[in-house]
Amino acid sequence: MTQPLPIPIRPTGASGSTSRRGETSVRSAPWWVDAILLLALAALAYGVAKAASRWSTPLAPNVQIDLSPWLLPTYAGLSTLRMATAYLVSLIFALVYARAAASSRGAERVMMPVLDILQSIPILSFMPGVVLGLAALFPGRTLGLELAAILLIFTSQAWNLAFSFHQSLITIPQELDEAATIYRLKGWRRFTRLELPFGMIPLITNSMMSWAGGWFFLTAAEQFSLGAEHLRLPGLGSYLAGAAEHGDARALTLGILTLVVVIVLLDQLLWRPLIAWSDKFKFEQSGTEAPTSAVLDAIVQSAVVEWVVHTTRRFGGRVGRLLRRNSSSSPQAPRGQWPAWIHLAPNIVSGALFAVAILWGGVAAFHTVAGLSASTWSLIGISAAATLGRTVISLIVALWTVPVGVAIGMNPRWSKRMQPIVQVIASIPATAVFPAFVGALIGVSGGLNIAAILLMVLGTQWYVLFNVIAGAMAIPSDLNDAAVNYNIGGWRRWRTLILPAIFPYLVTGMITATGGAWNASIVSEYVLFAGRQISTVGLGAVIARAADQGQFALLLAATLVMAAIVITVNRVAWRRLYRLAESRYRLG
């Protein structure tokens, strides 16, 4: 038999010499890369230990935040640690929840709408209850507050991760799925070799978005006002809030600068390398340009990292074996011995518990809310209308991103250069800059109104911009060529080509933006600035004031109204538009 001659393609893989077959040695990094990494690891370990020791310190009410700039690095470190912890918890939650939801049709039908509702509820209104509860769990210790802060940040990070992973799970190509089943990859192995890699790229992009969302709530998460008590956690968020309260412009500026530095560092040291690394998970086999990162290259070649990876793999293997021993057989191999209903038993029990919990909660809520007077309800109604008006205005204002986004997206040079910059700018939370607006507009009548709208716009226009850029990049070049060829220019080209093409993306961006705007209303319509309470008419103000003054019935009622509005608008307006976008305006 003649030796087959495959078409020679040089495998790129890892360059360097091949010592034994099947084992390639990587070119090793210069010694100082290893030194830096070791130092970083040591610093991280020290930081975590120090922070942990703080948690058991007694809870000091009315802690004053020291506005000295020398404390900024410490505060930055603490805040980042909080964010990182919340992110890890969100990630684990998302992976587990999405996996559970994807495991059966029944589970999916319940769990995904629940996720949708959770995503629509304004979290900040639940804060007081959460803080009280956790503080009661750990009486007299800061730990309770830290957990509350982490939980709050978690709620701004977890949902889109869960949605994204779920989406990946249900779109695994059929043949890959079958190959995994045929070659008997079950449970943990299936998760690590098929499901997680397949969903890796969307997970990473959504993680970036989650962090951006987390920064947004930092100021709100690190301080809690319950009636007369002002509880604060040391961190960047409370630093900025404290600066705003005292009207200290210098401290405010330094605080914002520190935040920007932290965000840029994270971008360069964490996200860029991750995106470059994730290229190997790309499923389409096209030859598009792969992103590069010098940091990634340096890290990959370091011996420290190799050791970490090796240990993680061994650890992962042990986890896998543990899970296999404890779990019964996977969903793929149905058992013959047990009667069918036994499998359903846990589902039935948890479903029943869930139903009972909802009923009980619903009844309790009803009682609480039923006591409110008619005038209170009308106040809520008017405030809701005001905030609704503001969100609509902010969406309209955000439309400036459409021409800009199209210009960037349709120009490949610009889009390549602008994308990372825009991503960093978008991560900088508007809430940090908000006090500056308040300060500037405080003299103007109706000033807070405008400031609130500005906050909404700033917080949400990035979602629209990203999506419009992505939509513009997706316009096939030959459609554009045809437009040029047939002399379709100006407004007509917008009407017949550009707007329809970006329509689905625009709708997606708007959906995300609306949710963000409502959340932003809670922090922007009722503020403490330079020792004064300023507020404007709006549902967010109602909620924030009720929380501040401990009026729980009003708080509950207003929160429910807000959640109801968001969910209704979502279903009625956005879902319809989205379906229209999907069916008629999808390119190809």
Binding site: M1, Q3, P4, P6, I7, I9, P11, T12, G13, A14, T18, R21, G22, T24, P173, E175, L176, E178, A179, T181, I182, Y183, R184, L185, K186, R189, R193, L194, P197, M200, K280, F281, K282, F283, Q285, Q332, A333, P334, G336, S583, R584
Partner: protein, 470 residues
């Protein structure tokens, strides 16, 4: 010499190592099964090919026998035991390779061994051996996106063979490769199989290529569609006669072509070269006329082509010259035959008088001819026009038509037929279809006129009455 596989003539009946018994498969609420009482037996030392047009359920059967799907009725028996869950004696090679893009070639090949709990060192050694066996030595650290199609499929083979499966399943393994690469890989696989270089005891291959089946298989099962069923089991050629251009090979290929180009006739009768006894129905007959999956361009192009090459062509040659798969050629030929533009005589396709006029006509006359003949012969088209005529404001919801079709076909097939009839109806200017609202509406002039004709003349379908949809 009989081509039909007859168990009593071969070696004494050994127990099959894997068998499908009376397998039925329905999807969802479909009333028509995708597979209808299929029986397949795989014995030690056999290479079996499942051949048939698309929609005949061969891939579904493969997946059921691999344990990837459960049959709606019947069972898969492996070594005398009913199958419950994934079939552990089977390894599968996929049409589009199914390699994990984030794993290297070596890691992909090791995949099956990982699940079997093989130790790392031994895993590597066995994987390297399999990679050498299949000719990919040197590519261990490459990622799938760096490989060509043929090399990717080699990885697929290596991955399947490294677990030393008892039975090897292949789902159209060479159809995604170009002709030359496919040839090369096929030859290598055959070498591995015939020289017993691999411990696999039996091979089951799904293919749509008659040439492939004849070159490789000991037994060939020809499937029919709607519903999927085995029409006939043919004995493959002895190894020595599988070389190109032997008379026996030509005869077998001919027979299979003849069987496949006559989907409604008794396959056994065709194989035995005798006319079917009058009054004797084929074992399974289609109760409803199936509209072939052919677009208007393909149809008009084909009639044009046929008239250019001398009004007559051999189906085998057509497949080769037009570089089409067998099922695609058969579908076009069937459509032309249905409309009366061409005649299927034995294995040759002959242009009819009407077909000649169609080929020579200008666009208007072409449409008029198409309209007349389509209405005369295509029951589904008549059905739709009648529905539109009877409906208020002459519009009908598409879903209703699809639902009617689902009475006789699986929902996927129903959807497919609906799309075809819309394509034909639009070309004939009988009706219009608005995709976003999902509505069909009768054409003001030609549509109304045609409906009027149907009403007045009560046109009788020239084909068998039993084939009428309504």
């Amino acid at each position: 010499m009989t081509l039909i596989a007859d168990a009593s003539l071969s070696q004494p009946l050994s127990r099959p190592i894997l068998a499908a018994r009376d397998v039925n498969k329905y999807y969802g609420d479909d009333r028509a099964p995708v597979l209808d009482k299929v029986n397949v037996e795989l014995r030690d030392g056999e290479f079996i090919a499942l051949l048939g047009p698309s929609g005949s359920g061969k891939s579904t059967l493969l997946r059921i026998m691999a344990g990837l799907m459960r049959p709606s009725a019947g069972a898969v028996v492996s070594h005398g035991q009913s199958l419950d869950g994934a079939n552990t004696q089977v390894a599968m090679v996929f049409q589009s390779f199914a390699l994990f893009p984030w794993l290297t070639v070596l890691q992909n090949v090791e995949l099956g061994l990982v699940a079997n709990g093989v130790e790392e060192a031994e895993r590597r050694a066995r994987a390297l051996k399999a990679i050498d066996l299949i000719g990919l030595g040197g590519y261990e650290e490459a990622f799938p996106k760096e490989l060509s199609g043929g090399m990717k499929q080699r990885v697929g083979f290596a991955r399947a063979l490294v677990v030393q499966p008892e039975v090897l399943f292949m789902d159209e393994p060479f159809s995604a490769l170009d002709v030359l690469t496919g040839e090369s890989l096929r030859a290598e696989l055959q070498e591995l199989w015939t020289t017993r270089a691999i411990p696999t005891r039996a091979v089951l291959m799904v293919t749509h290529s008659i040439e492939e089946a004849v070159s490789m298989a000991d037994r060939i099962l020809v499937f029919g569609a709607n519903p999927g069923h085995v029409r006939i089991e043919l004995r493959g050629l002895p190894v020595a006669e599988r070389a190109r251009k032997s008379a026996a090979r030509q005869h077998l290929v001919d027979t299979i072509y003849r069987i496949m180009t006559n989907p409604n006739e008794d396959a056994v009768a065709i194989a035995e070269r005798r006319p079917a006894l009058p009054g004797r129905r084929p074992e399974r007959h289609r109760r409803y006329q199936v509209l072939p999956d052919v677009g208007i361009d393909d149809l008009t192009g084909f009639v044009q082509y046929l008239s250019t090459i001398g009004e007559r062509a051999n189906v085998h040659d057509l497949a080769r010259d037009l570089q089409l798969r067998v099922d695609d050629v058969l579908a076009i030929v069937e459509a032309s035959d249905l409309l009366g533009f061409a005649d299927l005589q034995d294995r040759a396709v002959v242009l009819t008088d009407v077909g000649r006029r169609f080929a020579d006509a200008d666009l208007d006359e072409e449409k008029a001819l198409f309209r007349t003949h389509a209405l005369a012969h295509v029951a589904l088209l008549r059905h739709v026009v009648r529905e539109l005529d009877a409906a208020p404001s002459h519009t009908v919801d598409a879903d209703r038509v699809v639902e009617d079709l689902e009475d006789a076909f699986s929902s996927e097939e129903a959807r497919r037929q609906f799309e075809t009839v819309v394509d034909w109806g639009r070309y004939a200017e009988l009706f219009a279809y608005d995709d976003s609202s999902g509505e069909l509406s009768l054409d003001e002039e030609t549509g109304r006129g045609a409906a009027h004709d149907l009403r007045d003349h009560a046109m009788i379908d020239r084909t068998d009455a039993e084939n009428d949809l309504t």
